[in-house]
Amino acid sequence: MMPKLLFFKLLFLVCISTYGQRTVQGTVTSKDDGQPIPGVNVVVQGTTTGTATDVDGKFSLSLPPGQNTLNFSFLGYVTQTITVGEQSVIDIALATDTQTLEEVVVVGYGVQKKSDITGSTATVGGAELIRQPVLTATQAMQGKVAGVQIISSGQPGSSPQIRIRGVGTTLSGTTSLYVVDGVLTDDISNINTADIVDMNILKDASSAAIYGSRGANGVIIITTKRGSNGKLKIDYNNNIGIRQAANLVQMANSREYSNYVQAATGSAPATSSYDTDWYKTILRNAWQQSHNLSLSAGTDKSTYLFNVGYLDDNGIVVDNSFKRFTMRLNNEYKITDQVKFGLQSSYANSINQNGFNNINIDAYGNVGSVYNDAYRAAPFIADIVDGRYGNTSAYQNVGNPLLDIKNNSIKVKEDRFQGSSFLEVKPLPWLTLRSSIGADLRNTLSRAYNYQFKNDETTFLVSGGNQQNTLSNLSVRNNQSFRWVFDNTFTIAKTFGKHDIVFLGGTTAEKYKFNSFSASRKDVPADPDLWYLNVGDANTSTNDASGDAWSRNSYLARLNYSYDGKYLLTATVRRDGSSRLPGKNRWQQYPSFGVGWILSRESFMQAQTVFDLLKLRASYGKVGNDQIPTDSYIKTVALNLPYAFNGSTSPATNGAQINQFKDPNITWETTEEYDVAIEFGIIQSKLTGEVNYYNKKVNNALINKPILYTVLDADHQVLTNAAVITNKGVEVVLNWKDKINENLSYNVSANATFNKNNVVSLNGGLPVQGGGIGAAQGFVTNTDVGHAVGSFYVLKKLGVFNTDAEAAEYVSSSGKQIQPTAKAGDFKYEDVNDDGVIDNKDKQYFGSYQPVAYFGVNLGVNYKRWDFSMSIYGNIGNKVYNGKKAVRVLGTDNVEKDMVYKRWTPANRSQDEPGANTGNLLASDYFVESGSFARINNLTVGYTIPSESLERFKITSFRVYATSQNLFTYKKYSGFTSELPGDVINSGIELSAYPTTRTIAMGVNIGF
């Protein structure tokens, strides 16, 4: 009885507070799956008074006196009219309009009805993204969209790598283009996921062609939230949770280590009573929290949305943290029915303390790494005892990992303003003119301080060793970039009988400027208040600076034509000019065409009952990539190549060389792509799906083509358009949604992408070597004709020699002993060319980091007030190079527990694991492991508290939830993670990866 009583009380309150007017509120859900529908227009019939539903499908509206009827409308749903009567709460369920499917999606410089689209696009809603406690929307998108591979390190503050439909270049310019409210960018770590309405991904060349030379790696268009017509709405969301390392590698303990070293070297290493687990020493369970508060409201004439967000992510590595504060203000004003303008603006401030990548620098500026040291440090050395560190380097050539962290303080602070403003004029009902200016200003200030410490007994338990920093060092760097983009477009939309025509034309101009300044001094005291260059010794000053600038100018046009809503045609052309290319290659056209046929709307299909939707589409498009260094075609002088005339004590004389060969004919990488797809909906549209085939070919991919050493070039390679690379694949998407009864509804969606990457030609050039990881390993990847970009290319192990005699008997056909220094327990490698020596010519291909397939499964269940969701993501067929294991260079380095127990011994004649050894093994398929994995990316359970019981607190919605990110991973790889971001020719090598983290968090969503 209680809720009912409360309800009447509330009704009474409402009645007296607004005499004559009354408030009606409720929730709009979808009849199909019971999910709330945000953005539904709720209008008092016959008036302009109205509002829209919020993210949770809720609305609240003041009903003027004498009015009694509400219209609920939303694209793709059948409009419903409700007579309010005496009700004050109206919960309704809208049915999908299977006839029209009028959902509108953003397609670049405009919107289009989803049913009219002839290219390959996908949309992920903000509500789906915000569910995951991760930093960027990109990461939250993982596993949601076919054809889009997201590779994330999980490190605080890091941006994940994104590859849409495979790798189409051998250079690093593979980042997809992000368009945030019209501003073009390649990094969205400044965007608060809570601000996002949706992300539209333009996957194929025909849909990305409107972005021309920016579209080669796909385009992701992000639209941020606007206020909506209605009274003030306040939303507060948070989550607080804990992160921990998942999938740690088990290292040998003191006893196991001692046994292994004894077996490898013949003499027992020193021992102690310590048994340090170095990963435990440097890792921790870390708190993370995020808070968002948004205020929005609007009238017929203007709307606003204000959002502040705060995210605090303490990394799982000791002393690491990332904090981000974001603010957004989006305003829109309608001056007349013909004129409106608006502003979207955001500010983000982030502080990254001891970011994992940043502390990989030792006192000498060499790349060491905390993780690498933790992997190698001997377990019998103490980590820290009474403030003094265990001296790992006195025993072996490895720094104490904890000291690595504690004696460096590296802080990277970024301020970023990003925004755009637009003016839209509709002089005629069929004509829209739109002008918008976007800008993005970034300022990054980095400061690294290396403490001074000696290898004596004030720092260490025992003195000695290599780990010391005799002089403190302070280095600072300031990067500043600014870019603006100015778009002017006109859109003509006309309907003649059954002909629908939309024509878009326009221009865009873009300019970018960057400058960087860095300086350092030594001997700066340890007090953080003194960490300014002027405090340091001026005799140790160094400084450097660099700059960059480029511009682009483009003309674009797009025609959308549909006949009778059944036959569809899209034609796009963009003409792009870039300052980064030489005059004669400066301008390039990017055309695309797409056709579609909605069979299910044909009269002959009306009799059948199988398909509610059946659509065929096909497209061709051409896009480009100009992500090359600005000076790629201009011969420049390499300065500061000095020589020490006048003796070693006076400063050397500055010199120069012209040591870079440039290709003066360099041009854009051009991608051509064919795309065909079938879309369908069956069983009352409960099952919908899409099957897509694409064939993408980069004809003149830029590669660093090796050139003869006799032609002077400092790195012996020249950037030129020489490679032909293809990506062919199939994407399958299936969605099932059903409502069992009023209380229970659910949906399942699954997507899978199969991609095959292949280098077709290098135009006579040498294969491109990559993955140079040092030690005895050399280069472990090769990019050559007939293989995927960045394929692992190493020796093949045939097994392990069981006896010394067996090694001596391993000879070539000419009788030459192939591995003259090998003995029992060593690997036997295949001598492919039978020349009696094992060298680089015996290398073979062992797959690549690129998965054969990747997939996502997403499940959602709503039962009464409970909601449950789960998403799974996985990769199949990708390989990982276990680089950290491969660069074991000393007999005193620690080993993995598995290596202790599985190793070859005269008794256990393993053919997969070598006998105890001192490292420096040759690069072979021993280190190539399967990278296939499947992971429960996210698991969320939520409960919505009945709103009636909260009315007295003015709360309209209240949901509590628990969520877990990366709860469980099934993988074959023995290392930390097979998700390893990196350059296209150096990917999939685990050297010192940040382990995947597991997050468990709780949160609330409150609406006022």
Partner: protein, 508 residues
């Protein structure tokens, strides 16, 4: 309200048309490279390019793009010989250095590749500089000749190293206009006979002799007439043209610019930089408040922690002197203790106290028993910009007056004129050894070995003397006569040339 719409519409059209017309003028897209100096921007470029040629002598990127005097150089000139072992731990750098030490090296050996690359980098830089000098209008004629002479000296020296190590090599004496030019000109992708390369070297060095100042008139570190004469003498020695060797070494001796310093041990210390004995040495020092060094030269040869460890070691412990070298010294030869850093293996744990007072622990804490003392730098008695840097600068001595004397002696034995015994005895006296009444070729060769031990000469000297196979095989190396007198041509270059660059005999 209609007025507003009209105004805004007109404004839109005007702005859009404005953009189209202004960007069509192309100036919007004409953005110069920011902070990248182009060739025409610097009037002093030619002079800087000359310094840049010297800079190429300091290349030490042995695992990357090029090495001239770094770790690849020490490996292919010392470790390869019977004077030095690979050092460090047995498995450390078994590829590529173990393969060099044992003559199991193949055409994919990284050090052979980077030494080829580094030398051609320097040769290319020299050609660039000569090109710029020939069109320079700002430099006066005499200075111009001197610059050209310096550059040609370095080009000649680099080719001398190349021809000794690889035999026939591509002879590149000009800058290609573009890649097509380089592809069409066979010079870039054809090895020419060693004799043609030697002729080119002789022309370059003769030009240097003709236009360089003597040491007294030259700024420290610049090459001199004496350096060119001594270098050309060495070139002729490899050609067996003894009268020319004798004439050139006589000229250097007669110039009065050089003399033996009294204390052999001090030659490789900072105090010995560019001393009276120095004829040509690669300069190091400081630049931009940092050390200016040849990467890896010092750190690769520094004594390495091993066994019990527990000390801040000096380097990676490579290129360690052999017992064969140690046993070659006569009793009381002062050069032995100046060349070899002996690790205390007496069991008394006294360690080794070095010339600057630094103590190196005894053998239970050190990886190897012997190290190259000529590659030791002192943190306390020498000055460096960054002392903590383990890879500290050290000038690499390429030509010393002692070599002029020994070349002169060897020539005398061939020509019959001059006094070989007197020259050899000058060297022996300084080494604290008794004078000899007369000397043979073998005496000169032995003196060369000990005088220039660990100075990048031994292996190529043995090849010159025609007894490399004999000596290497005696030292237990898998040396194959007729093959291992030369290094393998890098496989990558053969492939890149489409097979036009050939391989040396016996390698594949």
């Amino acid at each position: 309200m209609k007025k507003l719409t009209f105004i805004l519409t007109s404004l839109f059209v005007i702005i859009t048309l404005g953009i189209i017309t202004s960007s069509c003028s192309e100036s919007f897209l004409d953005i110069k490279v920011q902070g990248g100096e182009t060739i025409d921007a610097d009037p002093n470029l030619a002079t800087k390019l000359v310094t840049g040629v010297y800079n190429s002598l300091t290349q030490g990127d042995c695992f990357g793009n090029g090495d001239v005097h770094g770790w690849a150089f020490t490996s292919l000139t010392c470790t390869i010989s019977d004077d030095a072992d690979k050092g460090s731990t047995p498995s450390d750098q078994a590829v590529p250095i173990g393969d060099i030490d044992n003559f199991t090296l193949t055409s994919t050996n990284k050090f052979c590749e980077t030494i080829w690359g580094g030398h051609f980098n320097g040769i290319g830089a020299a050609n660039q500089a000569l090109n710029a000098l020939s069109s320079s209008t700002t430099i006066d004629a005499a200075q111009l000749k001197e610059y050209q002479a310096e550059v040609r000296f370095i080009r000649g020296y680099l080719y001398f190293n190349m021809v000794r190590m690889f035999g026939a090599v591509p002879l590149v004496l000009r800058v290609p206009a573009d890649l097509e030019d380089a592809a069409n000109d066979p010079a870039y992708s054809t090895r020419v006979d060693a004799s043609i390369v030697y002729d080119s070297i002789a022309r370059d060095l003769q030009f240097a002799i003709d236009h360089l100042p003597i040491k007294a008139q030259a700024v420290t570190g610049h090459v001199t007439k004496g350096a060119a004469q001594a270098m050309l003498a060495k070139v002729y020695m490899y050609r067996g043209d003894w009268p020319k060797v004798q004439a050139l070494t006589d000229a250097v001796i007669a110039s009065g610019q050089y003399s033996l310093v009294s204390d052999y041990a001090t030659i490789w210390r900072q105090a010995g930089d560019n001393n009276d004995e120095s004829i040509f040495e690669i300069q190091t020092g400081n630049f931009n408040n940092a050390n200016l060094k040849i990467d890896n030269y010092i750190v690769s040869q520094g004594p390495r922690s091993g066994g019990k460890g527990g000390w801040d070691d000096l380097g990676y412990g490579f290129n360690t002197p052999t017992t064969s070298l140690i046993n070659a010294y006569e009793p009381n030869d002062l050069r032995k203790a100046a060349t070899i850093l002996f690790i205390d293996n007496s069991g008394t744990h006294k360690g080794t106290v070095l010339w600057d007072g630094r103590r190196i622990p005894s053998s239970d804490s050190v990886q190897n028993l012997y190290y190259n003392y000529k590659a030791y730098t002192s943190m306390t008695k020498e000055t460096f910009k960054i002392v903590a840097d383990k890879d500290r600068p050290k000038n690499v001595r390429i030509l010393r007056y002692a070599e002029v004397l020994l070349m002169n002696a060897e020539a005398s034995l061939h020509t019959g004129s001059g006094d070989a015994t007197a020259q050899v005895n000058k060297i022996r006296t300084r080494a604290g050894l008794p004078s000899k009444a007369s000397v043979t070729i073998d005496d000169v060769w032995k003196e060369r070995r000990l005088e220039f031990a660990m100075e990048h000469d031994r292996f190529w000297d043995l090849v010159r003397q025609g007894r490399a196979a004999q000596v290497m095989q005696a030292a237990g190396k898998k040396f194959v006569a007729g093959t291992h007198e030369l290094l393998p041509v890098p496989n990558s270059q053969i492939i890149l040339s489409g097979g036009k660059i050939s391989q040396n005999f016996g390698y594949n």
